[in-house]
Amino acid sequence: MIQILIVEDEKPISDLIRLNLTKAGYGCTCAYDGLEAADILEEQSFDLVILDIMLPHVDGFELMEYIRSLKIPAIFLTAKSSLEDRVKGLTSGAEDYMVKPFEIVELLARVNIVLRRYHKAGQLLTFADIVVDAENQKVTKAGKEVILTPKELGLLILLMRNRNITLFRERIYEEIWGTEYSVESRTLDLHIQRLRKKLDLKDAIKTVFKAGYRLEEAHEVSV
C-alpha cells in the first residue's frame, strides 16, 4: 500500500485529507507540526508527503529541505497563494503546489500524477476482475481482452482512479471531452451504458441522481 504523510496543523483539514486519501486506497499518517513530521519521517518511510507551509516550530520550506534529502516527493498544500510563494515552493524541490481551498478530485489527481512520475503508482489499475493498463491502453476482464474506444477507456480510468467518489457530470465532461457540459447532451450516458455492458459493471457504476456517476466497490461501502 502506498504510504502518504500529511503535515498540516489545522486538525479539520488534516482529517479531511486523511479521510479522502484513505477512501482512495492510500495509507495515511498525520503530523501536526514540522518537528513531529521530521520525527515521523526519521522512523518510517513514505512514498509521498503532503505539507502545509505555515506550520508551528518548523515551517514547510524548512521541512522541505529535509524531505528533499530523503528523496521523497512532496506536494505543498497551503493557503499561501502569492506567485512568490508558489515559485519558492516549486523551486524548493516540491513536485506540486496546491492552494487552499482545494477540491478532492483535484487533490487525488495531483497525488496520482506525482506518484506515477515516481513510478510508485501501479501501472495497472484493477477493479474486481478488470485490469486496465493505462500506458498500453489495454483492458482485460477475467484475463480476456476487451476492446474499448479511447473515450470509453478514458472514462473507465477516470472512474477507477476516483472509485467511491461521485464524479459530477461537469467534471467528467471537462476531463474526457474537454468541453463545457450541456444539459441536453446524452453522450456521457451513452458511454456509461457501453461501459456497463462491455465490462459487466451494471451494479458497480452507480447513477447518482441529478449529479453524475460513481464506481463503487461493494465490499467497502458501509451500510
Binding site: 486538525k11 479539520p12 499561501k80 487552499k100 481551498p101 467511491n164 460513481r214 458501509s222
Partner: protein, 480 residues
Amino acid sequence: MKFRYKVLLTNLILLSLSLWLVGYFMIRKNFELAQNTQLRNAIVENNLVQSSVEYELLQMINNGNVRISESLSEIAERVMGGMFVESSSLYVRYADAYVYSSDGEEAHISESLFEELDVGGKNYMICREKEQYFIYVTSYSNVDKRQLCIISKQEASDAYNMLEEQIQYFRMLTLGIVLSASVLMYLISMLLTRPLEKLNQVTGEITAGNYEIHLKAAGRDEVGQLAENVNVMAGAIRERVEELNDMIHRREQFVADFTHEIKTPMTTIIGYADMLRSMELSREELMMASNYIFSEGKRLEAMSGKLFELIYLNRHEIEKTPVHTDDLQRELLRIAVPILERKQIELKADVEPAVVMGDKELLITVCMNLIDNARKASEEGSVIELIGRSCKDGEILENDCKPVYSLRVTDYGIGMSKEDAAHICDEFYMVDKSRSRKEGGAGLGLSLTALIIKRHQAVLKVESVQGEGTTMRVIFYETK
C-alpha cells in the same frame, strides 16, 4: 524668461531712461545758456552799431546834409570798417530798401524779422546758412519819418557745435555706463537668484519622490525663509508618505492575514461538503464532516462579526456617557460566570465604585474579551481576578493626562513570552494557534479590545510571565 533676465532688463530700461532724461535736460539747458550768451553778445554789438550809425547820421543832418540814403551807406561802411570783426556782417535798410551790405550781397533776410517791430525795439532770429548758424539782430528807428533798420549778422555755430559734441559725448558715456551696469547687474541678479534656482531644483527632486533633502538656509531674507519652509514641507511630506506607506503595509498585511485566516474554514467547509455530496460515508464520518462544517462556519461567523465591529469602530465616533463601574461589574458577572463555570474557573471581582466616561456596551466587550483570553489561558479550576481601582493623586502622568481609573484582569494560566505580549493586539495574531482554534478564537478579540481602548483614550498594559500568568490592565485618563 528667467527671473534674473527680467530683473536685468527692467533695471537696464530704467537706468537708460533716467540717463537719457538727465542727459536731455542737461544738454538742453547748456545749449540754451550758450545760445543766450551769443544772443546777448549779438544784441550788444547791434546796439553799438546802431548808436554809432545814429550818432553819425545825426551829425550829418545837423551839418545840413539831408541826403540820407547815400550818406547812410558811407556811415555804415565806416562803422563797419572801424569795429566789425570778420565773422560779422552788417546790413542797413532804409525806407524798406537795403542801402548797405557789408558782405556785398543782398542778405537773405526773411521779412519775418521785421514783423511787429516797434521804434526802439529789437528783433532777432537764428538762421541756418550753408551748414552754419547765424544770428540776425535788427534794430528799428525813425529817421526823417522813415524806417531805418540796422541789421547785424553774427555767426552762432558755436552753441550748435557744442550741442553736437555734447550729444556725441553723452552717447558714448551712456553706452559705457549701460554696458558696465548690465554686467554688474547680471552678476548681482545671478547672486540673488542662485538660491532660487537651487530651490527650484530641490522642489523638482521632491516631486520626483526624493524627500531626503535638507537645504542650507540662505540668509534671513524671503528666499532664506522660503528655503526653510521647503525644508519643513519636505519633512512633513516625508512623514506623511512614511505614514501612508506604513498604513498601506499594515493594510496589505491585514488582507494577507485575513485571506489566510478565512481560507482554513473555507477549505474545511468546502472539503467536507464536497465529501458529503460525492461519497458514501459511515455514520461517524458523517458526524465528523457535519461537525467540522458547523464549527468552522461558526468561526467564520464570529470572525465576520468581529471584523464588522472593527470596521464600524474605525469609521464611527463612540458616544461617551458616564458609566458606573459597579454596573459594569454586575453585567460582567452575569455574562461571564456561566461561561467560566464550564471550566470550573472562579471569577474574583472587586471593582471599586466610580464613574468613568465611555460607551458601556463597548466597555463590557473589552472586559469580556480580557476575561475570555484569561479563561483560554487558564487551567480548569483556576482563578481569574477582575479588580477596579480609582487612581490616587500623584500617580504617574502620561501625555500630561491624569490617570483616573485602572481596571485589571489577572489570570494564573500559561502566560506568554515578551515577544508574544508585544504582538497580541495585532490582527489574527495567536500565541498558540491550536489552543486558540480549539477555543473557537479568530485572532481578532484583542485587536478589537485594543481599538476600543484606544478610542476611549485609555491605555492597555500587558504584564505576563510564562508559566505564571498574565495581567491585562486598562488605565482610563482624565478627559480634557
